[in-house]
């Protein structure tokens, strides 16, 4: 056990740090003014290309698909160093974290050659078209229909909660190709061109006021059969590849989201009825609780990556990360805003309290996105602890005949 770098890791870290300092000089502080979407996309593309050309993308991916073939430890080190800055990376977290690994795991060689390099360099942005209005937690209930027509497929339906669909060039889409098979058996996955005729993207405004995701409508959209990922009817299995990568791609506290350090700073600045907030036992316990949750998740992920670098496969164990982090964000930010009395309500741009207000709004969505707290607890209970599954009375019924009990 060693929580410090080995000499080789320290050398890699020094190299990464020097490169980041030389290339991300403009991102060492948070932006003075929040970027608009266009500027965010432009800056994201520029940073991704710079990283790509220096050999810092696809670190753990195989070399034959354009990766660097390095260990998860290299990825941890790069992420740690990159997260000291405010470079924009979120545009690619879904594409490179989930979609492209699915493409290079299940796609034909010419498909990999066509799509993976451009995705790695950030020239093309990807989105993940999974959820639908009637299929959120119950993903296998999707209804978007793909019908075969010779060597092509025609897609009709609607997806929702699709992050960055409005800025994406391509997406991976799970569709139903057999309505008479049981729900998990009739699905098929494709690559879809988001600029194809019949694709309509409508941004959704979130309760926070911003619009990070969309609903996407498909009307007679044509997909060549060459763009199928995996066998017809194997869409559920293919989507599990995506979700396995998702486990590693999301989960920890979002970069620069307020944590225990922010709570310490806020508590230092507030005088309460019973003296300085930082001296109050309840405040100190909350700081401790926040540290235990956020650092505990970080250390848990590092344990998992250690296991991964020794040959383990990312398992459902990682489901704990988001369950812990999202609720901790919500609890901690509500606690800090309470401490601030009226100032916790008034929005003061650029302040710690404003960041906490943002975190309070955002955490409500984070508890749902990518698997709700409840679904993740089911996954832990069933896949890790081996408890019997929830009753799923529709599991073996042909999809077209499912009726709710």
């Amino acid at each position: 056990m060693d929580f410090n770098d080995t000499p080789a890791e320290a050398a890699y870290r020094a190299k990464v740090r020097a490169w980041i300092e030389a290339n991300a000089a403009e991102y060492l502080e948070p932006p003075a003014e929040p970027w608009g979407l266009d500027e965010f996309v432009a800056r994201s593309k520029a940073w991704q290309a710079r990283k790509h050309d220096a050999g810092y993308v696809g670190l753990t991916w195989p070399k034959e698909v354009g990766g660097q073939g390095l260990s998860p430890m290299h990825q941890i080190i790069f992420n740690q160093e990159e997260s000291r800055t405010y470079v924009p990376t979120g545009l690619y977290s879904i594409g490179l974290g989930m979609c492209i690994p699915t493409v290079f795991t299940h796609g034909a060689p010419d498909i990999i050659a066509r799509y993976v390099p451009k995705a790695l360099r950030g020239e093309e942005v990807w989105c993940q078209l999974f959820s639908e209005p009637v299929a959120g937690s119950d993903l296998a209930a999707i209804r978007t229909r793909a019908v075969r027509d010779g060597d092509r497929w025609v897609v009709n339906g609607q997806k929702v909660w699709t992050s960055f669909a409005h800025r994406s060039d391509f997406g991976i889409i799970v569709t139903r190709t057999d309505f008479d098979a049981p729900k998990h058996k009739g699905l098929t996955m494709f690559i879809v061109d988001m600029k194809a005729p019949g694709v309509e993207v409508r941004p959704i405004r979130q309760m926070s006021g911003s619009s990070d995701f969309n609903e996407v409508f498909f009307t007679d959209v044509v997909i060549p059969d060459t763009h199928r990922l995996g066998a017809v009817g194997d869409g559920w299995k293919v989507s599990l590849t995506t979700l396995m990568h998702e486990r590693l791609a999301v989960g920890g506290k979002p970069r620069h989201a307020p944590g225990y350090r922010t709570l310490i700073d806020v508590a230092r600045s507030i005088e309460t009825d019973s003296g300085p907030a930082i001296e109050r036992a309840d405040v100190r316990q909350r700081i401790a609780d926040t540290y235990i949750a956020d650092e505990g998740v970080k250390l848990t992920q590092m344990r998992a990556l250690s296991a991964l670098s020794k040959g383990a496969i990312p398992g459902p164990e990682q489901s704990i990360a988001k369950v812990v982090v999202a609720k901790t964000m919500q609890d901690m930010s509500a606690f800090a805003l309470d401490l601030a009395e009226g100032a916790g309500l008034a929005v003061a741009p650029g302040s710690d309290l404003e960041r906490l207000q943002g975190s309070y709004m955002w955490s409500a969505g984070l508890r749902i996105a990518g698997g709700t707290d409840e679904i993740l607890r089911n996954i832990i209970a069933e896949r890790v602890l081996g408890l019997p599954g929830d009753l799923r009375p529709d599991k073996d019924t042909p999809f077209s005949q499912i009726k709710p009990l």
Binding site: F3, N4, I287, I292, L299, S306, R377, I380, P388
Partner: protein
């Protein structure tokens, strides 16, 4: 970076688990609860034979010279099996000697503790005081006066580390317990398996042991050690409850199918994993002498206390009425959770220590 136990520690854990599965467990704990002996002497003799008290003692003093990793996995297995033996108390005294003992003190006590000839106990508690508050006990001219309670394994021990007042805060003294001026009396403890005592000193011969800072550091190392113990105890309670949830039926289903039940078990797992991650960090900081020890140890203690308390409480709850009976094993975990929580400073005490450590680090960084 390698966030995993050494292979040696894993091998020791496996051996310890196999041994204790056969020799200890709730039935043995119940026998100890219903008997009169301060600990299970037969089991203790076998534990000594396994060489566990010798684990941390350097080879020069007749020990095995093992690291913090090995000490932690032994604590985990003692916690899991509820073994009624004074191993962790003895390890606490060994750790105090390693940290703060003079050469003469080490030479006098380490070989005897390693061989099982001597049994140790840690006598710091004085009622409602925290480990940081000044004890009333005094060491003057080699004579110890004062009273300590509750002292886990005090009825079994032959030597104690006792905290006394000093100008710099609580400090330690080393006291052989057979000497004149020492009275050891049984004390009714909430934990009926790990017995406790009141130790009274009326001018007993004692030696100072290290500095006030050594006591601070010892508390940190023991916070890590007992965090591992708590992980083991929580894991055993959870496994017992998991087996019950997979077996018990209600309304035509195994109760483990109901989300109200499975989500509690998922929460036990989540809290246990967070605690394990912090306990690993603490173990590394202890073993490597890293400056993060203060922070890592406090976090390990807090996270493990949270996991153990939740698991012990919800284990009773998920078992329903049967879990509340004297005959059921739930009570062992429920009571042990209190014992571990009360034995080395409360949650509030350690939360304050954690935040102090974070503030110091932030100041150093700024």
């Amino acid at each position: 970076m390698d966030f995993d136990l050494s292979d040696d520690a894993k091998t020791l854990r496996e051996a310890a688990r196999k041994f204790l599965d056969a020799e200890a467990g709730p039935a043995v704990a119940r026998r100890a609860m219903e008997g009169e002996a301060p600990h299970d002497a037969t089991l203790w003799a076998k534990v000594v034979e396994q060489g566990w008290p010798a684990a941390r003692v350097p080879e020069a003093h007749g020990g095995l010279g093992l690291g913090a990793d090995e000490a932690c996995v032994l604590a985990e297995e003692v916690g899991r099996s509820l073994a009624p033996v004074p191993l962790l108390s003895t390890m606490a005294v060994i750790e105090a000697l390693l940290l703060a003992g003079t050469d003469a003190q080490k030479a006098a006590w380490l070989p005897r503790l390693a061989s099982g000839e001597a049994i140790g106990c840690l006598a710091w508690a004085e009622g409602a005081k925290s480990p940081a508050q000044m004890p009333a006990a005094r060491l003057e001219d080699g004579r110890l006066t004062g009273s300590k309670a509750p002292v886990a394994d005090g009825l079994s021990a032959t030597v104690a580390v006792v905290t006394v007042a000093s100008a710099d805060g609580p400090a330690m003294a080393l006291v052989p317990l057979q000497a004149a001026g020492v009275t050891v009396a049984p004390l009714q403890s909430l934990d009926l398996v790990r017995r406790a005592a009141t130790l009274a000193f009326a001018g007993a011969a004692a030696e100072p042991l290290g500095t006030a800072q050594d006591w601070v550091t010892l508390c940190e190392r023991l916070a890590v050690l007992h965090a591992w113990e708590a992980l083991g105890t929580a894991a055993a309670a959870m496994e017992m409850t998991l087996a019950y949830a997979k077996d018990r039926q209600a309304f035509g289903l195994r109760i483990g199918r109901y989300q109200a039940v499975k989500h509690k078990l998922a929460d036990m797992y989540i809290k246990g994993e967070l605690a394990r991650a912090h306990a690993m960090h603490g173990c590394w900081a202890w073993g490597s002498g890293a400056p993060e020890l203060a922070q890592a140890a406090a976090a390990a203690r807090l996270a493990s206390l949270d996991a153990l308390r939740f698991t012990a409480e919800e284990s009773v709850q998920l078992h329903g009425g049967i879990g509340f009976t004297w005959e059921h094993d739930c009570q062992f975990y429920y009571r042990r959770a209190r014992q571990i929580a009360g034995a080395l400073g409360s949650r509030a005490h350690w939360a304050d220590r954690l935040v102090r450590a974070l503030e110091l680090r932030n100041r150093a960084a700024a």
